[in-house]
């Protein structure tokens, strides 16, 4: 073990030093490809990471964590240790913790670079990626509508509702069209016509209850429907169009699929590289670290 600075010894105290020393001797004799994950290693790791050097406090903190969290810390330590050792194998310099982090970062970059080299992509692969990820490319359902609004704050609840229902018959009797909608009712705080809006967008302006009602309405450009109640007031709606969620044809999204696949391949190569490095080492975890 080459990585303990003076402060490390000061804070860990003699007992831990002894354990550490024993481990160092042990590791000399044992396989260089073994990563020992014990209390000393974890405490050191945590102290440097938090820049807080009090081994007893850190020890208490670590064992106060849930098992899940302790597992995560162990996993992070192992990853860092493995990449660090591989970096040393590559002949990068030895040094302090900053250098250590730098070396790990370089390994990540190396992995990214390798990934890019591999990113030659055939057309078939792009098409296959599209097929395998249709959910990703599915476009949300949208509706398009205009509405005539009667304001709650201006009319009160009962008048807003009664004006609305009285007007409904008139709009339908007179065949009032989409273009004429803005001649009726009160000014709505947001918009009169909504084109290709998703459920989330309609909810933003009309509330969830009314948005759900609108998404279940049939398209009918001749028939005003309603009234529907939002927190703002009463609405009569001419449902102009409705597009169910749809999966676009491959040709429509080929460019985007290629970008996505390239990113995926890059991150896969990256992960494979890291896994390969990790796989090079046998990891031994002190069971006391994770048991309660």
């Amino acid at each position: 073990m080459l990585r303990e600075p003076v402060i490390h010894f000061l804070v860990l105290g003699s007992l831990i030093f002894a354990v550490f020393h024993w481990l160092s001797d042990e590791s000399d004799a044992s396989d260089q490809r073994t990563i020992i994950v014990d209390e000393a290693a974890i405490l050191e790791f945590m102290q440097y990471r938090s820049k807080f050097f009090d081994s007893e406090a850190v020890r208490r903190r670590f064992f106060g964590f849930s098992e899940q969290r302790r597992k995560l810390i162990v996993k992070q330590f192992v990853r860092e240790e493995a990449l660090y050792r591989r970096a040393l194998d590559y002949g990068f310099d030895q040094g302090d913790y900053v250098i250590r982090l730098r070396l790990v970062q370089k390994m990540d970059f190396t992995a990214e670079g390798l990934a890019i080299d591999h990113a030659e992509i055939a057309d078939d692969a792009v098409r296959a990626h599209y097929q395998a990820n249709l959910v990703e490319y599915t476009e949300s359902a949208t509706i398009s509508f205009v509405h005539v609004f009667h304001s709650l704050s201006k009319n009160g609840v009962s008048l807003a509702t009664s004006k609305s229902s009285a007007l409904l018959d008139r709009l339908n009797a007179q065949g009032v069209t989409l273009e004429q909608a803005s001649q009726y009712g009160d000014r709505f705080p947001y918009h009169v016509n909504y084109v290709e809006k998703t459920l989330e967008q309609v909810t933003d302006h009309f509330g969830m209850a009314m948005a759900r009602q609108l998404f279940s309405l049939p398209v009918n450009r001749q028939q005003w429907q309603g009234g529907f109640q939002s927190e703002h007031g009463s609405h009569l709606v001419l449902m102009a169009d409705s597009n169910p969620a749809r999966v676009p044809e491959f040709a429509e999204v080929a460019g985007q699929v290629l970008v996505d696949l390239r990113n995926q391949i890059k991150s896969r190569h990256h992960k494979e590289y890291i896994d390969e490095v990790l796989g090079h080492y046998r990891v031994e975890i002190d069971p006391g670290l994770l048991s309660n």
Binding site: R102, Q105, K106, T110, D186, V192, N193, Q256
Partner: protein, 623 residues
């Protein structure tokens, strides 16, 4: 691409839905006269799009130096589109509502360079700068590299910029990344960068925003502060870009508040009084100004506007960005947007062109690759101001301003016909854009000569507004005899936010005697309040914030406010501008959310509540 095409098709399919003009004055609820022919399809912008034009990633030298080692432009675009990301403090962070557009605007100086050096990218390591940084390390002083970011702008002959070839290769990567993340109709990813000019510690930064994709944008690498610190040279470079590529580009200045009077100075950086050429170029290349962001709000200052009780809002007025010189009162009028708009009127009188004829937007200037503006979801500026127990006590970069002072701000809102680079860029160019300090307050603002008070009650008010006047960013010319301009303002609360307190119209004008004046008019407000007859001030809206739990109630305020207001003090011979300011009711400031979440005591000096707000771009009147 698919969304783009389906949207296009939808436009055709749906053209009959688009509302017609109806200039005729019709009573609501009465039967309209049938049109002789179908009304002309109104071509005005129907939707407001929300975005951030100013965000940094690990490609920025300062962001990287201060701990953003890993989050890339792609991460930034993905986060803006609504995906979850792991922030530097280890927390998962996600937007409740995705953004509609984002400009990743990393610093042009050593763009991407610090990261590439650390990972031994030969592209950077083998440059003169790379050699110098290596020497610093060999001498045991790797930290010295951090200083070269600013030093290379002051002394480029000593701290070497990257060669053109390297800059171009890195820039191609930036522009192509924006293209990869651009989804016309759904999410607009703009290409951009920041020109980081600082003179004597005074901030003159500009974000440069491209309409174009990599095909054009990548042809010429960014113009950096290492090339020149003079904005006139930047404008020349932008002109050169447009000529050479056929593309379109603009510059957006920010943080006049830490420029110690240089941002809207009467002189150019060489001390010469600004002239008509300067004015023409500035108004040509800088149609909008970023008035609010994490490093302070720059709309108004209480010293300049003592009668405006809302002027004292998240101001940063201690010194300049380099912290080299304390603020003097005389600097303020050359720093704040309202004052600059006024100075612009006088310059126009004298030069024939107004150099400070800008619209207003907000943005974040975040350096963590995550764009957050909400009080209850604010992830700071640098990693040191991400949520954590320490950020109410520590200082930016350890030595700069206290982090509790940073502002969860702001948004750029654009009225546009569709969510594409082209449509949004054009909205910025015509200044039909506005700023908010972090909420999605919706506001329309129009000026005209014939608006009637009752027009505001019409559901068709937009037809009247556009056909009888100009939207925010526009000009009113040639007042009809004995007419004062009227302004139509329609504001609605953030659907996921606080109710509205009031709408104000702020007027600035140049008197015949040469004196610049300003006045704030309360034009519409919530509840049954009347202005105090003595002071003319409208009483405060109240406060429902519970600091102990970081909650508030929408039991006061209005969901929407609208009015047609006519200037009672109009003089047709005087140049003027008008813009609207929309105030929300008080809600907990981000520091209060932090205190509750982390169980901390808030010290006396830290504000507990905030009244977030929107500033529209002005409408100008020119005799």
């Amino acid at each position: 691409m698919s969304k783009f095409w389906t949207s296009k098709h939808a436009c055709l399919r749906f053209s009959s839905l688009v509302l017609g003009f109806s200039v005729a004055i019709l009573q609501a609820d009465t039967d309209p006269q049938p049109e002789y022919s179908s009304p002309v399809a109104a071509n005005y912008p129907k939707d407001v799009y929300w975005g951030d034009t100013h965000l940094h990633t690990r490609n920025s030298a300062d962001a990287y130096s201060l701990g953003n080692l890993n989050l890339t432009p792609t991460d930034a675009y993905r986060f803006a589109r609504g995906q979850a990301i792991t922030a530097h403090n280890g927390m998962q962070v996600q937007l409740r509502r995705p953004l509609d557009f984002l400009v990743v605007s990393d610093h042009a100086e050593y763009l991407g360079g610090y990261y590439r050096f650390d990972v031994a990218d030969p592209l950077v390591v083998e440059t003169a700068a790379g050699n110098q940084w290596k020497e610093f390390e060999d001498q045991g002083d790797p930290i010295a590299r951090i200083g070269t970011f600013t030093a290379s702008m002051q002394e480029p002959e000593k701290f070497y910029p990257f060669p053109e070839k390297v800059r171009k290769l890195i820039w191609e990567d930036v522009a192509e990344t924006a293209d990869d993340n651009n989804r016309p109709g759904v999410f607009t990813a703009f290409t951009g960068y920041e020109w980081t000019s600082m003179i004597s510690g005074n901030n003159l930064h500009r974000v440069v925003l491209y309409k174009d994709g990599a095909e054009k944008a990548a042809q010429i690498p960014p113009f950096s502060g290492q090339d020149s610190l003079d904005p006139r040279d930047l404008w020349q470079a932008l002109a050169h870009y447009e000529e050479a590529t056929g593309g379109s580009v603009m510059a957006i200045a920010h943080n006049g508040n830490i420029s110690n009077g240089m941002m809207f100075s009467d002189t150019s950086v060489d001390g010469e009084a600004i002239n008509a050429d300067y004015a023409k170029l500035r108004s040509r290349w800088e149609p909008v100004y970023e008035v609010t962001q994490v490093k302070g709000d720059g709309e108004s200052h209480p010293t300049l506007s003592p009668d405006d009780e809302f002027a004292d809002f998240e101001n940063w007025d201690r010194d300049n960005i380099g912290r080299t010189e304390d603020k003097q009162d005389a600097m303020l009028k050359h720093e704040y947007a309202r004052s600059a708009l006024k100075l612009g009127l006088r310059h126009e009188q004298e030069l024939g062109v107004n150099p400070f004829k800008f619209g207003l937007i907000g943005s974040t200037d975040g350096h963590n690759s995550v764009s957050t503006t909400e009080e209850d979801n604010f992830f700071g500026k640098f990693p040191d101001s991400q949520p954590g127990k320490k950020r109410l006590d520590n200082q930016m970069a350890g030595v700069l301003w206290q982090n509790w002072r940073i502002v969860a701000s702001g948004y750029a809102a654009a009225w546009a016909r569709e969510n594409t680079r082209e449509a949004l860029f054009e909205a910025f160019k015509r200044r039909e854009v506005y700023a908010t300090t972090g909420s999605r307050i919706q506001v329309r603002f129009f000026g005209g000569w014939n608006y009637q008070a009752s027009d505001i009650d019409r559901p068709s008010y937009l037809d009247i507004a556009y056909s009888g006047g100009v939207p925010m960013g526009g000009d009113l010319l040639q007042a009809p005899e004995n007419k004062a301009p009227s302004f139509m303002v329609v504001a609605a609360k953030d659907p996921d936010g606080a109710n509205l307190d009031r709408v104000q119209i702020i007027k600035g004008w140049l008197q015949q005697d040469g004196v610049l004046r300003e006045k704030v008019y309360d034009v519409v407000w919530s509840g049954e309040r009347s202005p105090d007859p003595e002071t003319g001030k409208l009483p405060a809206v109240g406060n429902t914030v519970d600091v102990e739990t970081a909650t508030y109630l929408n039991s006061i305020g209005s969901t929407d406010l609208a009015v047609v207001w006519t200037d009672p003090d109009f003089d047709a011979g005087e140049r003027a501008f008008y813009y609207a300011r929309v105030l929300e009711i008080p809600k907990p400031r981000w520091t209060t959310y932090d205190a509750v979440y982390f169980n901390l005591e808030l010290s006396e000096e830290i504000p507990k509540v905030i009244q977030d707000r929107a500033y529209t771009s002005p409408v100008w009147y020119t005799p």
